[in-house]
């Protein structure tokens, strides 16, 4: 494919993602802004002052959200990678049932499951703990990890690994020098999914976190229905920034390492 066309596509995607954020940026510096003015009549920084105040709990939420999204992603990889490989490369009885069961968390509305799990977690004393919130975030994350990675493994096949083994590589060496580099770009995409899913959890964090674990969505969502658009815009920019950083990082590695789209594209 022509390289300049690909860059054009990347630029269009980035503009499409960033353009909706411009009004948010303006709103966050607004004091008075009424219809039909194109720009605010009076500008102000009171929304950002609130964001940086201790009362907003934005800083605390940011740290918790980042920690949760990272740890959840790591656990998703630990659980999802072997499962994806097995589903992609092996045939066994009841495989389609297993595949279907693994997809259930995306099909069934979360709120249906979460109520039962909440009671279970209370009994196991997992509510109000980082571990509990991380476990509940894993439920919607794992299916995406498996979905993406089984596609990658299916395309990748075992030929290269077999070759490495015949040439005397140990299984660990094979994984480190052959398998991992091959699936890494796909793994980055899958990790981006799990990161963003954990990042945007509200109901699950609210119920299981029990008010002890405050994340950004918990701080942001009450403002969205409110009348103070400036504060809502400022907090949502803080909410979007890390997600955007992850997206840009991934899209850059997609643009440079073209081989990876093979597995992802045929999914």
């Amino acid at each position: 494919m022509n390289k300049s066309w690909r860059w054009l596509a990347v630029i269009i995607i980035i503009v499409a993602v960033l353009a909706p954020l411009i009004p948010q940026l303006i709103w966050s510096f607004t004091f008075r802004w009424y219809f039909p003015s194109l720009l605010p009549g009076v500008w102000g920084t009171q929304a950002w002052e609130y964001v940086f105040s201790k009362s907003s709990r934005v800083g605390e939420g940011l740290i918790n959200s980042l920690n949760l999204a990272l740890v959840t992603s790591l656990f998703s990889i630990a659980v999802g990678l072997p499962a994806a490989r097995a589903l992609a490369l092996y045939e066994f009885r009841g495989k389609s049932l297993v595949e279907w069961l693994l997809m259930v968390p995306i099909i069934v509305p979360g709120i249906v499951v979460i109520m039962g799990i909440h009671i279970l977690f209370i009994r196991y004393r997992l509510t109000g703990t980082f571990l509990g919130v991380m476990l509940i975030h894993l439920i919607p994350c794992i299916p995406y990890m498996i979905l993406v990675m089984s596609g990658v493994f299916a395309n990748y096949g075992t030929a290269l690994e077999d070759t490495a083994r015949t040439l005397g590589a140990s299984s660990l060496q094979t994984f480190w020098y052959v398998t991992l580099p091959g699936i890494l770009p796909g793994l980055l995409v899958a990790t981006m999914f799990t990161f963003l899913i954990s990042w945007s959890q509200y109901v699950t964090t609210f119920l299981i976190g029990g008010g002890r674990i405050i994340t950004l969505p918990l701080v942001l969502f009450p403002f969205i229905g409110g009348a103070n658009h400036a504060a809502a815009a400022a907090i949502s920019l803080v909410f979007v920034a890390p997600a955007l950083a992850v997206l840009i990082f991934i899209s850059r590695s997609l643009a440079t390492e073209s081989s990876i789209m093979g597995g992802f594209g045929r999914l």
Binding site: W100, H118, L120
Partner: protein, 447 residues
């Protein structure tokens, strides 16, 4: 046709799976008998709660009971140096900041109590959490110490026996609350009986734009009707069951009945049928001249935007000082003012309740006690800080505190406490509200 059979097989597998899943999650009603021994009086309550039966270990330590206190000194001793988790609606930066500085600050300085606000999107979320904890057998050490609550949410918890108390008699500052006033002792017609402590008072007011309406707003429903017909597209109200929309309809019922009395007792269909037609006729009459020809009704939050942007000329809501604060915060232009209907407007209270299984009921009581102190009520009434209506009766205060209250200058768009008090109406009982909401959907929305 091979793919079709494969599809069928897959569909059947999914269906079976879903049924299995539904069976696991299907709630089975269970009757739980709860014995609560609080403040010396054993109360037996039968609670029917839908409990999910799952293959899980049985709750441990069911024999634990919530702590009981018989004196304020005991409460203070138990509360000192603890942490209180207060679950409260978190969508206002003003309220969040004020709670931290004006309640959290003094709690830390006076008692070493750390007050942690847990922001809620909807108070019902906290109520559900308490119900879940009950179902899981968490009798002590629950995640919520205190909830900002009133109306239906309180009724749900209290009817299920899931509130701690009665505790208000233990609070020394409870003497500043006039419990003989039915407006305090009943929360939306439901008896409080010491299970929740008030903090702020709220009264419904209409907001209008003097630049569009002029200086004399329509203060009767007849005058409002005329104004709407003369100025089409400039008035609207939120669609029921939106909270604010529901309140607007309640006012029309009170106008139709010539007073709030018929709706204070238990629901009565004959009385309802007597006044309802007048309300539906009124609302259907104004509908063609509402904003966007009455084809759509906005949400309450959008009403603020509509008025700010002069798309409409009116807004409505429970905060008498809300318009002044919105002007100060740049949300409203400076031409917005408020009025109350000649037939009166509904008033209610904000309360705090303590869940039956609160981890720290003593700490919550100390916070609740501070919130009805003259010191905090004066801060709350300060138009430059909160601008809320006080819930205490200032006649029970010392002279100095009364003078401070009298010295406050009202916000530019705020009506005086006397005018508001003279027009305050008690809230109808919950059953009436439900009937009114259902009636509106059938007789106005679907007509």
């Amino acid at each position: 046709m091979k793919s079709a059979t494969k599809f069928h097989r897959m569909a059947i597998v999914m269906l079976v799976g879903l049924t299995l899943l539904a069976a696991c999650a299907a709630p089975t009603p269970q009757t739980v008998v709860v014995t609560q021994i609080v403040a010396g009086t054993p109360v037996q309550v039968e609670v029917t709660r839908e409990v999910s039966v799952t293959a899980a270990p049985q709750p441990t330590a069911v024999s634990e009971t919530p702590p009981v206190y018989t004196s304020w000194d005991e409460v203070l001793a138990a509360a000192r140096g603890t942490t209180v988790y207060w679950h409260m609606w978190g969508g206002s930066d003003t309220i969040n900041g004020n709670v931290d500085s004006d309640i959290g600050g003094p709690m830390r300085d006076l008692y070493g109590i750390t007050l942690i606000r847990v922001p809620l999107n909807d108070t019902a979320d906290a109520v559900n959490k308490v119900l879940d904890e009950k179902a899981a057998g968490v009798e002590t050490g629950g995640s919520i110490d205190m909830i900002w609550i009133n109306g239906e949410n309180f009724k749900t918890l209290k009817t299920a026996g899931l509130v701690y108390g009665p505790f208000t008699d233990l609070l020394p500052n409870s003497k500043y609350v006039n419990w003989d006033d039915p407006a305090m002792a009943f929360d939306f017609g439901f008896p409080v009986e010491g299970y929740e402590s008030p903090w702020g008072h709220a009264q419904f007011v209409m907001e209008y734009d003097t630049a569009q309406v002029g200086d004399t707003p329509p203060t009767t429903f007849e005058a409002l009707q005329e104004w709407i017909h003369a100025n089409p597209d400039k008035f609207t109200y939120p669609a029921v069951p939106d909270f604010t929309g529901s309140v607007f309809i309640r006012h029309l019922f009170i106008w139709a009945a010539g007073g709030p009395d018929p709706f204070l007792g238990d629901f009565d269909q004959a009385t309802f049928d007597k006044y309802a037609p007048k309300v539906w006729t009124y609302l259907n009459d104004i509908e063609p001249d509402l904003w966007r020809g009455g084809q759509t009704y906005p949400e309450a939050a959008a009403m603020t935007d509509l008025l700010a942007n002069k798309e409409t000329a009116f807004n409505m809501g429970y905060g008498p000082a809300g318009a002044s604060l919105n002007i100060a915060k740049g949300i409203y232009p400076e031409t917005i003012r408020t009025f109350v209907f000649d037939t009166g407007t509904l008033a209610n209270n904000n309360y705090v309740a303590i869940p039956f299984n609160a981890n720290n009921p003593a700490g919550a009581m100390v916070v609740a006690n501070y919130m009805i102190s003259p010191q905090f009520q004066l801060t709350m009434a300060d138009p430059n800080r909160w601008g809320w209506l006080i819930t205490a009766d200032p006649r029970l205060w010392g002279q100095h505190d009364q003078d401070v209250l009298a010295s406050y200058e009202l916000g530019v768009a705020t009506l005086s406490a006397d005018v508001l008090a003279a027009h305050a109406l008690p809230e109808p009982n919950g059953a009436w509200v439900t009937a009114m909401e259902e009636g509106w959907i059938k007789n106005v929305l679907e007509k």
